[in-house]
């Protein structure tokens, strides 16, 4: 886990959520720019996952490794799953799905950080 990458993902995710909420309230469906945004967010998340995986192979493991890995897998799968599910909907509820995913993502990252660096 790289701190600044976590921060970047959280900020990007919240920005994405804000953008999608605006689309929802303006009654717009999900468009290609939304998908591109989700793609960029997903790349950041994958980057964080790769960095963490490399660190774990190198011996730096969180105490609850199984828990950490399952959270990490969820974080990696959430953006594409919700992007596909939202894009299938051709109404304002498509961006609403993405907004939800982008609000959950920062919370999951907070949990990941706690597992990686438990504060006693």
């Amino acid at each position: 886990m790289v701190d600044w990458l976590t921060m970047t993902i959280q900020m990007a995710s919240l920005a994405m959520a804000g953008w999608c909420l605006v689309s929802t309230f303006r009654d717009r469906p999900m468009m290609v720019p939304h998908l591109v945004g989700m793609g960029a967010l997903w790349l950041l998340v994958i980057g964080q996952a790769v960095v963490s995986a490399v660190a774990m192979v190198g011996g730096e493991r969180p105490a609850e490794t199984a828990m950490f890995v399952s959270y990490l897998a969820t974080v990696v799968l959430l953006p594409p799953a919700c992007a596909v599910w939202g894009f299938m909907e051709r109404s304002k509820w498509g961006p609403a799905v993405i907004a939800f995913a982008c609000l959950v993502l920062p919370v999951l990252l907070v949990r990941l950080e706690q597992l990686w660096n438990p504060v006693v």
Binding site: S91, W93, A101, V104
Partner: protein, 140 residues
């Protein structure tokens, strides 16, 4: 008749239903994963609480799948599971407030889902509202 049934069958997973399926899926995963992990590692501490989390996760999963499948039978099952959830979150929520000793560790439904931003309390209400709305649109 069969035509209208076929077209209205899918309404359950469109519009607000689309968002509900997403939220239900995330909660199904969260509750099941949390509960089974705790059951596997700390069964002795609070078996009832952890068992409840797994049960809640199962109910969320059923609701998510049925809302997504969106046929007639699924609609009924989804309605029942939303009802069970609402009853569960109210009952377990009340228990956790009035008899705190019974559940030594938190579940998804403890204190009416306050650990999850009260989403577990709001979600079944929205689910019931949406299913009944689709049901009424059909009968018209």
């Amino acid at each position: 008749m069969s035509d209208t049934a076929a077209s209205s069958d899918r309404t359950l997973r469109t519009g607000p239903g689309r968002l509900l399926v997403a939220v239900y899926s995330v909660f199904a995963l969260a509750a099941t994963a949390r509960g089974s992990y705790q059951l596997a590692t700390r069964f002795d501490e609070a078996p009832l609480a952890y068992g409840l989390s797994v049960a809640a996760g199962a109910v969320y999963l059923v609701a998510a799948v049925c809302l997504a499948r969106a046929d007639r039978t699924s609609r009924t099952v989804a309605l029942v599971s939303c009802g069970v959830e609402l009853a569960g979150v109210l009952f377990v929520g009340a228990l956790s407030v009035f008899v705190p000793g019974l559940l030594p560790d938190d579940t998804v439904w403890s204190r009416f889902g306050s650990g999850y931003g009260f989403v577990p309390l709001v979600l079944p209400v929205l689910g019931l509202w949406w299913i009944l709305r689709v049901h009424r649109m059909d009968r018209r």
